[in-house]
Amino acid sequence: MIELNATLLAQVLNFLILAGLLRAFAYKPVVRMLKKRQDTIAANINRADADAAAAQATLKEYQDKLNSAREQAQQIVDEASRRAAEERARKLKETQTEIDRMKKAAKAEIERDHERAEEQLRKEVVELSIAAASKIISKNIKTEDNERLVGDFLSRVDKKKIGDFSC
């Protein structure tokens, strides 16, 4: 039952052949695949890291841009409100001047009207006086007296006393 013969050598040879074949056809593909997977995963991790860094950089860039844009906007708003304030002050001043000018013009107009009215009044007074005088003359008053009366009257119709009349 237990006898050693050339089978022993044959079995060693058989096993070595099997080991060689397995190594070539089964072990190598598995190891190669595992290696490939390891490499792929490592590459993916590296790429992910790089992507994250790039994303971070982009984010920072955009944040910077946003900040500068905000600053610019603030500047623009400040400038606009400053200009608006200036404009308002300028307009206010202009309006004030206009109002002053109009006031002055209105005053002058009033004065002119006043003068015109005074002149008118004076003329009417003269006419009325003459009419009155004519009536008196017609009641036989001397010419000298007549002239004195008229002159008297006229001197009383003075600029300063014009206010007493109701025009």
Partner: protein, 225 residues
Amino acid sequence: MHEIGVREIVTYAGLTFNWETLCMTWLTMAIVLFISIIATRNMKLVPSGWQNVVEIIVNWLHTQASVTMGKRGEFLEPFVLSLFLFLIVSNWLGLVPTLASPTNDLNTTLGLALLVIVMVHMLGFHFKGGAYLKHFFQPVAPFVIINAIEEVAKPITLSFRLFGNILAGEILIIILLKLMPIWMPIPSVVWLAFSIFIGGVQAFIFTMLSMAYLAVAVKDEHEDA
């Protein structure tokens, strides 16, 4: 076919071969190769199905090998893997009716054990040179006798353990089938199940011991495991 103790002998070029053992070995080799190639072809980067199992086995072996044998032991991984696959298929082959285990022949087990031991000594001398020879004389010179006995015992224990277990299992299956009437299959089935377990365990033991012996020769003592 299963006449215990009688082997079919073939003589070729003045050498005697056990024909059944050889045939069964070739069958085993074919099965191992077929399974391995089927399992490892079409490997994908994202594993699925069988590929997961294959990868778990290879990864487990890789971890075991690097823990026991260190960095220099990596090139022995396919050898160890082949050993395990060959032995487990061999051991289970004998459980199929009309077939026999190649490992029920001492020629097979002793052949493999001697192959392992020769590799151990060659690799040890190759990697460590004089230091390897010196370790037989540790801790003191007279220990060389005990060490020598140990070295001789290694292939003998390795081969006889496997051979005895498998042969006994097969013999008992035949005996049980002959003793028990066909309507009482329970003892045979139980023994068959136990033999499946024994076949796996023996393949595992043979492989792990071989790896441990190889580790002594290959592993760098200064290397952190």
